[in-house]
């Protein structure tokens, strides 16, 4: 693990004694970690979880096809929710920075409400309430609407931070050229804002991917639901959940890596947007 300059500065270039202590610490901690891994493997062994009956089906192509279908379901919900949030977030941000106070109040209230409500509660509501009113909602939308609601509230703040990061000179130049506020926003501010926020938008996709796992509740066919089906078929809990968890981690790591790459390429840092105390962003 590479150290940052601050972390490196925490320790002096070691003398012989410090180097020896670090070596001892390295050996001891490596042993402790090895013991931990050994203990975990031992637990698997003792409980018979290493037996081939729990693992053999991973050699079957159709099992991987089924897991792949779950992943496609997850990504379809995530991209759908992400696309909606891109648009709704923009609208909420415009509302929040509007010149008309009532519009500002409404947008702020909507943002606070979406951000403060658990996605899971919203999903239960989508699951139970429309049915009570005799409406049919597909499981896809039961997942996508709540997930996109939360993401919209967060993206509204991301966009706002992006607009604030556009240099004032740019905004003033647009106005002094005689552009109307709307023209100024569309032609001068928005293009720059999008360049600034793209890496941050991509990092938010991690949250969206994780939230789609709530599809489990309404049996929308995503990773967790398909995992459940596999478990029912092969009565193999631990291996299936381990594999699915690993897939989530790898997908989200890939998204983060992509965001970092974008951030370097576009020379736009990933914004730390504070959605709880947003006023602090401007300071």
């Amino acid at each position: 693990m590479a150290m940052t300059p601050t972390e490196a500065a925490l320790f002096e270039a070691g003398g012989p004694r410090a180097r020896r202590r670090i070596l001892i610490g390295t050996v001891l901690s490596a042993l402790a970690l090895a013991a931990l891994v050994a203990w975990i493997v031992y637990r698997f062994y003792v409980k018979g979880q290493l037996a081939s009956q729990y693992w053999y089906f991973f050699a079957q192509l159709n099992v991987w096809e089924f897991i792949g279908m779950g992943l496609v379901g997850t990504l379809r919900a995530a991209l759908g929710a992400g696309a909606i949030a891109l648009v709704v977030g923009l609208v909420l941000m415009l509302g929040r920075t509007s010149r008309w106070a009532p519009v500002r109040w409404i947008a702020t209230a909507v943002i606070e409400f979406f951000r403060g409500t658990p996605t899971l509660l919203f999903i239960y509501a989508m699951f139970l309430v429309p049915a009570q009113m005799g409406l049919k909602v597909s499981t896809y939308w039961m997942v996508v609407i709540p997930v996109s609601a939360y993401a919209s509230a967060v993206l509204a703040e991301v966009y706002r931070a992006g607009v604030n990061a556009v240099p004032d000179g740019q905004k003033e130049a647009g106005i002094s050229l005689g552009l109307s506020p709307a023209q100024n926003f569309v032609h001068v501010i928005m293009p720059q804002m999008f360049r600034i926020v793209t890496p941050t938008l991509v990092t938010q996709l991690v949250v969206v991917v994780k939230d789609t796992s709530f599809g489990y509740v309404v049996t929308y066919p995503e990773l967790m639901v398909n995992a459940k089906v596999l478990i029912a078929n092969f009565s193999s809990l631990v291996p299936v959940y381990l594999v699915v968890a690993l897939i989530y981690v790898l997908v989200n790591l890939a998204i983060s890596r992509f965001a970092n790459w974008l951030s370097r390429r576009q020379d736009a840092e990933i914004l730390k947007v504070d959605t709880v105390m947003p006023h602090a962003v401007e300071v």
Binding site: A9, K47, L121, V206, F214, Y241
Partner: protein, 221 residues
Amino acid sequence: MIHDFAYLVTNYGQAFVQAYLVSLRIAVLGFVGGFLVAIVLTVARVSPIPPLRSAVTAYVEIFRNMPVLCLLVFIVYALPDLGLVVDYEPAAILTLVLVSSSFACENLRTGINTIDAGQIQAARSLGLGFSQIVGSIVLPQALRAVVQPMVTLALSVMISSSVGSLVPIAHKELTGLVAEINNTEALGVTTFLVAALMYVFTGLLIAFVGRRIERRFALWR
């Protein structure tokens, strides 16, 4: 709707308060536990011992990128196959501790890295030892830099306590209670709205407290 609300308060008012307190308990234990674990993890992560640094990095990447639901389901339904049985509410708390500690560790490390390396070098050239440097230069500044992201994390943990609704906790937490009420009698939007507002106001309260702490301690630079 007003009629529904009156019905709800008379029949379920007490249940709502109790469920809210359970949510709060899960969230507070999840956050505080996560914070404490994160301090230990962060020390290991900035230590000069490579295996510890790598292990903590792996821990953080795993629990930051895994859905809360996936982790809870694993703890509750898969761990017993490995001979580890955790009761439902402790399982929900453990889930939140694992996840929030990984986020808090990341926050603390970012906080440490906001300190310019020159400050530490200056302290060393003045003859301060490692513990003095950490205790009087690094930690006070790192903790202040970290108030904002920690408040955000506290709110996330409160919201995430709703995963408790996925497992049959003895005393239902708020989201579980609302789902249960709507399974037995159709009260429609009202129950959800009441619960949502309870969460939202808790969030606003957390933000308010956070702002006070911030004004008191934060460093602007």
